[in-house]
């Protein structure tokens, strides 16, 4: 059996208990390979998920379910460098427009440290 991360789903349970992602515009900071992104993205209106680790973002993009490809956008980026003007629409189908105060939810996933 390979390494198992949180098979008890404690993290997902807590996350969905604390945040209502339904129809929300979400920025996830520190998304890694999308491990948590998949747990809520299907209910969000739109997700931008960023992480500075290019390999993990590549994995996340590769593993993106077809049903979420028009809803989730992964970027190699940090919160310090993140720019809406630069970052949106890179996949050609973003409906978000560059502006401040855009997101309903910002989710910092093990990234504030």
């Amino acid at each position: 059996m390979p390494i198992q991360l949180d098979p008890e789903d404690s993290e997902t349970t807590a996350l969905l208990d604390y945040a209502d992602f339904t129809d929300k515009y979400v920025l996830e900071i520190g998304c890694g390979d999308g491990r948590l992104t998949w747990r809520y993205a299907d209910r969000a209106a739109r997700v931008i998920a960023i992480d500075p680790d290019a390999d993990r973002i590549a994995t996340a993009i590769k593993d993106t379910p077809a049903t979420l490809k028009d809803r989730v956008e992964f970027q190699v980026n940090s919160i310090e460098e993140f720019s809406l003007a630069k970052g949106l629409g890179t996949n050609g189908n973003s409906q978000l427009q560059p502006s401040q105060g855009l997101f309903d939810v910002v989710f910092m996933s093990w990234s504030l440290c």
Binding site: M1, I3, Q4, L5, D6, P7, E8, S10, E11, T13, A14, L15, Y18, A19, Y25, L27, I29, I79, E80, F82, L84, Q100, G101, L102, F103, D104, V105, V106, F107, M108, S109, W110, S111, L112, C113
Partner: protein, 137 residues
């Protein structure tokens, strides 16, 4: 970290919410489970002794005190990693937890416990984790 939170505040809509998950200041605990029993075998140290987790707490407190966010809810949960052996968890930490200090004595002790004739056993890493919801003001 404070700058990151200030930027998050700018990116959020008025009344938007910030969800933050980060480990507690306490070091994660290694345990070996043999059958129904769990035995503590040590703690995971990091090269910076978890200073960044304390700084994360301070950064959040700073932006709350300055009125950028209000705290709506806080709690904790345990994030548990399971491995079939001490060696497997050790390798995982080397690959994935770059600033972990691999304490060979702890892993040798854990490996000894795997010599038990009990077949149902595993190595566990338990990370006590904070979760909080903040409202943008």
């Amino acid at each position: 970290m404070v700058h990151a939170l200030e930027k998050v505040h700018r990116l959020l809509k008025a009344d938007g919410e910030l969800i933050d998950i980060h480990p507690m200041f306490d070091p994660p605990a290694f345990e070996v489970r043999v059958g129904e029993k769990k035995f503590p075998v040590g703690w995971l140290r990091e090269t910076d002794d978890y200073e960044e987790y304390e700084l994360a707490d301070e950064a959040v407190n700073d932006v709350v005190q300055r009125g950028l966010f209000s705290i709506e809810r806080k709690g904790t949960f345990s994030f548990i990693t399971h491995a079939d052996s001490a060696a497997e968890l050790r390798q995982y930490l080397i690959d994935e937890w770059k600033d972990a200090i691999i304490d060979e004595i702890t892993f040798a002790h854990a490996a000894e416990m795997f010599n038990s004739i009990e077949r149902d056993k595993e190595m566990i890493l338990r990370v006590s984790t904070n979760i909080a919801r903040y409202r943008s003001l």
